[in-house]
C-alpha cells in the first residue's frame, strides 16, 4: 500500500533557510544541508526547496545549494521558485532536483506545463499553487508573486486545467494559513482532491500531527510543513509515530 508522505519544506535565500508568515517577515532558520540530512534521518519522505531569491545571483546560489543538498541526500528533492521556462527547469534537474515546481510562470503562460511535461515527463512537473479564500463560500482564488497579485483565477478550475496540461502533482498552499499554525485549509483540500486525479500536497498552516491527520482525512496525499520542523517544535519521527498510531499508513 502506498504510504502517506511527510515533507519538510525549506524556503532558501542566499544559501540559508528562511521562514516568515504569509510570505513576509522572513527570519533565518538554518543551513539547508544540515537540515536536509537531519530530516532524512528523521524519516522525511521527500524534501522541497523553494528558492525565494529574486535576483540572478540568488538563482546561482540556489543551484549551488541544490547541488550540495543532493550530494548529501538519498530521498527525492523537489525544487521550485522562479522557474520561467525549460532552461530553468533543466538547470535545477542537472543540479540535483528530481521534480521541478512551477508557480507564477504557469499562471502567466499555462502551456509551460505542457512544454515541461513533454520533455521531462509528467512525474517531474509539480504545479505549485498559492491560493487565498474568496468572499464566496468554498471558493479560492490563485495568488502569485508571493501573494501580492490576486489573479482572479479559480483555484479548483486551475487545478483541473493544469492536470490536463501536464502537471503530475499539485503543491497546494493556502496563503491565508501560511506560517500561521492554524491548521491546513481542509475545505480547500477536500474540494481539490475531488476535482483532480493527480496527488495533492497540503501546505500552509501546520502546527501539529493532528493538523496533518486532518489533512490526510480531507484527501491530501502528502503534507508539507516548514516552521514546526525548522523551529524544532517536533520532528518528522514524532509526527509519523503519531500518524501511525492514528491509523495512517506511513513509512516507518
Amino acid at each position: 500500500m502506498l504510504t502517506r508522505r511527510v515533507i519538510p519544506c525549506m524556503d532558501v535565500r542566499g544559501g540559508r533557510i528562511v521562514k516568515g508568515v504569509r510570505f513576509a517577515g522572513l527570519r533565518d532558520a538554518g543551513d539547508p544541508v544540515e537540515r536536509a540530512i537531519a530530516y532524512e534521518e528523521q524519516g522525511a519522505d521527500e524534501l522541497v526547496i523553494l528558492d525565494i531569491s529574486a535576483t540572478s545571483e540568488g538563482r546561482g546560489a540556489c543551484l549551488r545549494t541544490v547541488a550540495a543538498v543532493r550530494a548529501a541526500l538519498s530521498i527525492p528533492l523537489t525544487v521550485g521558485g522562479g522557474v520561467r521556462g525549460f532552461d530553468d527547469a533543466l538547470a535545477l534537474l542537472e543540479a540535483g532536483a528530481d521534480k521541478v515546481a512551477v508557480n507564477t510562470a504557469a499562471v502567466e503562460r499555462p502551456v509551460l506545463l505542457t512544454e515541461l511535461s513533454q520533455r521531462v515527463g509528467t512525474q517531474c512537473v509539480v504545479l505549485a499553487m498559492d491560493v487565498a479564500s474568496s468572499e464566496d463560500v468554498d471558493s479560492w482564488e490563485v495568488v502569485t508573486r508571493s501573494g501580492t497579485v490576486r489573479t482572479g483565477l479559480d483555484a479548483l478550475e486551475w487545478g483541473v486545467r493544469a492536470q490536463g496540461l501536464g502537471a503530475g502533482e499539485i503543491l497546494l498552499t493556502s496563503w491565508d494559513r501560511d506560517g500561521t499554525r492554524q491548521g491546513y485549509d481542509l475545505a480547500l483540500l477536500c474540494a481539490m482532491s475531488r476535482r483532480v486525479r493527480v496527488p495533492i500536497i497540503a501546505s500552509g498552516g501546520a502546527d501539529s500531527s493532528a493538523h496533518m491527520l486532518d489533512a490526510f482525512r480531507a484527501g491530501a496525499d502528502a503534507v508539507l510543513a516548514a516552521s514546526i520542523f525548522h523551529d524544532g517544535d517536533t520532528t518528522v519521527t514524532e509526527v509519523k509515530r503519531s500518524l501511525a498510531s492514528a491509523g495512517v499508513e506511513v513509512r516507518s
Partner: protein, 202 residues
Amino acid sequence: MRACVVRTGVANIASIAAALTRCEIEPVITNDRAAIEDAELLVLPGVGSFASGMRAIRDAGLDGVIIERVMSGRATLAICLGLQMLARESEESPGVEGLGVLDASVTRFPEGVRVPQFGWNCVASESDTAPFESGYAYFANSYRFATAPAGWDAAYTDYAGAFVSALWRGRVLACQFHPELSGPWGLRLIRRWARAEEVSPC
C-alpha cells in the same frame, strides 16, 4: 569501481550520480556505444515518456548494445522508465517499439487510484533469489507491468492491485522504483548489485 550511466536525454542523472558516489562507485555519464558495451556496470535510467526515452536510445545507436547486455545477463541496473523500455511496447506511447527484451507490454494504472503513483510503497521480495530484502521504495510512475514476463524472477507491490516492482535475471536488475531515491535501503540495493553480493538472511 566505475559504472556507466546512459544519458537518456533529460533525467535525474544528478541523483543517480550522487547515489553511486555514496556507494563508492564512480559514475561515468555517457552515450558512447563502445563505453556502454565495455562497461563492467551499466545503469539505464529514465524519467520522461516512453517515446522520448526510446528516441534518445535509438538516436545514439544504443539499442543493440543494451539488448545484448541484458540478454547475456551482464551487470545492468535499469530504473523506472529504464525498466519499461525493455518491454515490447507501452500504452504511454502507442506505436513506439521498445527494446523488446521482455515479452510484455507496459500498461497504465487502472482508474480509482491517484496517478502518478508518488511516494513510498512496500516491495515484497518473497523469492530466495531476490537481490534485496523487503522494504519501502520510492515510486514515481503512471505505467507498470501488471504481470512478470516469462523467464524472470519478480518482486511485487500493491497499487490498485499487484504490479511488478522489480525483475532480475543473471546480473540484470530492473526496478520500477527509484533505488537512488529510496534512502539507505536503496543504497544497499545498489551496493549489492554492483558487487554481486547475496542478501544475507536476517
